[in-house]
């Protein structure tokens, strides 16, 4: 029994690490840049499929990290500087901006997803890398899962210290609290928001890379992960980066437990939890107010 519980918990943590990484990205994009980016999962899908395509040319998936992350960052940065900055300036209120930027990101979802479908087709893909079993406290897990978890935690912690310890991190935190006043204090607000959006996209890209090592992937996988990400971000508190990190692990655990009890209901349980949370505590577990 104890082994079974440990099994479920570790599986949940492994899943949760990936959720945490994607959710941190969205938390940056929504919490700071105010874009509820529905195309977030598409950046992840791009990372996953690029890694897969490179793997077929013999590139080690962990080396693709140096390719996926920067490319996703550049795409995100440019998108923010062109599309979303324009929307932000032309919107009368922050509420109107959130609405229109969300709809624009729906458009991006269809654009990115269908470019990927045209380029790579719709079939399910996968490759094996580091798939040998590792014994963790009596339960067996594939090594790639553990590597993925390790990367997710390292990236999360490094980014947290970046936010807390550096000047740019401080500017980002200031912009999250109040963009207008941060701008008055000398923060180049358009630049900082675009950086946040880019960082968010890069995290999604890297998460996609890690996911492609462990799970089968396909061009239409994005939306499902986006939804899970939104759930994690709401769970952790919109705009709270540590919150979304913790929220990822909590949701991973819940998913793992529900899958153990009734596999068909794991997604339904996520949505139910999410809607309940929105009604009862929309600010999340670490959110203010």
């Amino acid at each position: 029994m104890l082994a079974k519980i440990l099994d479920v918990v570790i599986a949940g943590l492994l899943l949760g690490g990936l959720y945490a990484l994607i959710a941190m990205g969205l938390s940056l994009q929504y919490g700071v840049a105010r874009v509820l980016n529905i195309s977030h999962g598409e950046f992840m899908m791009l990372g996953a499929l690029t890694t897969w395509a490179l793997f077929r040319f013999g590139v080690n998936p962990l080396l693709s990290l140096a390719i996926c992350g920067p490319i996703a960052f550049i795409i995100g940065f440019i998108l923010y500087r062109t599309l979303f900055t324009r929307l932000r300036i032309s919107s009368a209120t922050i509420g109107a901006y959130e609405g229109s930027s969300m709809l624009a990101s729906f458009g991006l979802l269809f654009i990115i997803q269908n470019i990927a479908l045209i380029a790579w087709g719709s079939e399910i893909k996968g490759y094996t890398y580091l798939a040998f079993p590792v014994n963790v406290g009596g339960a067996l897990f594939a090594a790639n899962r553990l590597v993925a978890l390790g990367f997710a935690v390292v990236i999360g912690v490094v980014f947290y210290f970046f936010l807390v310890r550096t000047r740019l991190g401080k500017a980002i935190r200031a912009a999250a609290q109040n963009p207008a006043i941060a701008g008055l204090m000398g923060v180049n607000i358009n630049q900082v928001l675009a950086l946040c959006f880019g960082f968010g996209a890069a995290m999604a890209g890297v998460a996609g890379l890690l996911i492609s090592m462990c799970y089968p992937i396909k061009a239409t996988m994005g939306l499902e992960y986006t939804i899970i990400t939104i759930i994690v971000v709401v769970l952790g508190g919109l705009g709270s980066i540590p919150g979304s990190f913790i929220g990822g692990f909590i949701l991973g655990l819940i998913g793992s437990i529900v899958t153990y009890i009734e596999p068909g209901l794991s997604l339904a349980a996520y949505y139910l939890l999410f809607m309940f949370l929105l009604l009862v505590r929309p600010t999340g577990i670490l959110g203010k107010g």
């Binding site: 959130e98 609405g99 729906f106 654009i111 209901l265 949505y271």
Partner: protein, 316 residues
């Protein structure tokens, strides 16, 4: 511009409207079967879009629930279709949607802005997943077959739904409730202070708009003959009405109708041959429309007309 000219214009438009209606009413008598099916699909999208605009247009609440109401209609038809006559099935579909919307409305309308959007979207996915689980667990089949109805009947039912919807939308827009919705969209606090029962109004209008989506779902199910939770609760039915309404422009009554008609026709042309390019175009148009056409095609037309009038005045 003098009075007779205005009167003439008005009667001209009414005449044209009547003519279009008569042409549509007798369409199956002279048009090919393909045309009838195509026009039915266009009607379906107009119904979805105009229903969405009834609530979301004036209030600015971006609802992503249409797919849920549509799916409820579809499933009502699949479950009751064999036991009951078609008109009753459609009424039940509409009623089920209405009840769901009433429940959701009462639960969520205190959520503001983006929270409302993601809640309604979560609703679509929740119902989809629960239904899938139920079907596999208890009925042991993923999908269901729906009774077959001939295309002409589907066409007429859709036409009736559309006409009733347009009348309802027009009346709501012109009534004091339409004005109240508009004021909620501009400033909810202020609207409440002027004596509008904000929550009740929002809930009722949300539910009324769901009636038509549910009815459209129940009749469209008979056209597809086979359905499963992924077909019935396809999130695309939530996104498409939003896009069509934005593209057409919500400032005028006819805007969403034009937007839906254009897109439904495009879909028919492109979807079967180049599905990915169709969806790609769809995304590009959505982004471009949000960036450059915040008031849609109607906005363009209005601009052009205003420019015309200004020129008229400018020339002595």
């Amino acid at each position: 511009m003098n009075i007779t000219k205005i009167k003439f214009r008005k009667s001209f438009w009414y005449g044209l409207l009547f003519l279009v209606f008569v042409l549509l009413a007798f369409l199956p008598l002279y048009a090919s079967a393909y045309t009838v099916i195509l026009i039915t699909a266009i009607f379906m999208y107009i119904v979805l879009t105009v229903s969405w605009v009834i609530f979301s247009g004036p209030t600015g609440y971006i609802s992503l629930a249409p797919a849920a109401f549509f799916g409820v209609g579809i499933y009502t038809s699949a479950v009751l279709g064999k036991a009951l006559p078609l008109p009753i099935v459609i009424c039940f579909g509409a009623l089920a949607s209405f009840c769901l919307a009433l429940l959701v409305g009462a639960l969520t309308l205190r959520l503001r802005g983006i929270y409302f959007s993601i809640f309604t979207f979560g609703l679509v996915l929740l119902i989809q997943q629960l239904l899938l689980w139920y079907e596999i667990k208890f009925t042991h089949t993923r999908g269901r077959f729906v009774i077959v109805v001939n295309n002409t009947t589907i066409y007429y039912v859709m036409l009736i739904i559309l006409v009733v919807l347009l009348l309802a939308a027009y009346l709501i827009r012109r009534s004091k409730y339409g004005l109240a919705l508009q004021s909620i969209g501009e400033d909810e606090e202020a609207a409440a202070h002027t004596g509008i029962n904000v929550t009740a109004l929002k809930t009722i209008i949300f539910a009324v708009s769901a009636i038509f989506i549910g009815a459209a779902g129940s009749i469209m199910a008979t056209r597809w003959t086979y359905i499963d939770p992924y077909i019935a609760f396809d999130p695309l039915f939530s996104f498409l009405p939003v896009l069509m309404a934005i593209f057409g422009g919500m400032g005028q009554f006819y805007g969403p109708i034009i937007g839906a008609a254009i897109f439904a026709y495009l879909e028919e042309l492109l979807l079967t041959r180049f599905p990915y390019y169709y969806m790609l175009t769809f995304g590009i148009i959505l982004v471009v429309a949000i960036l450059y056409l915040p008031s849609g095609l109607v906005g363009l037309v209005e601009k052009w007309r205003k420019g015309d009038i200004v020129e008229e005045h400018a020339s002595p």
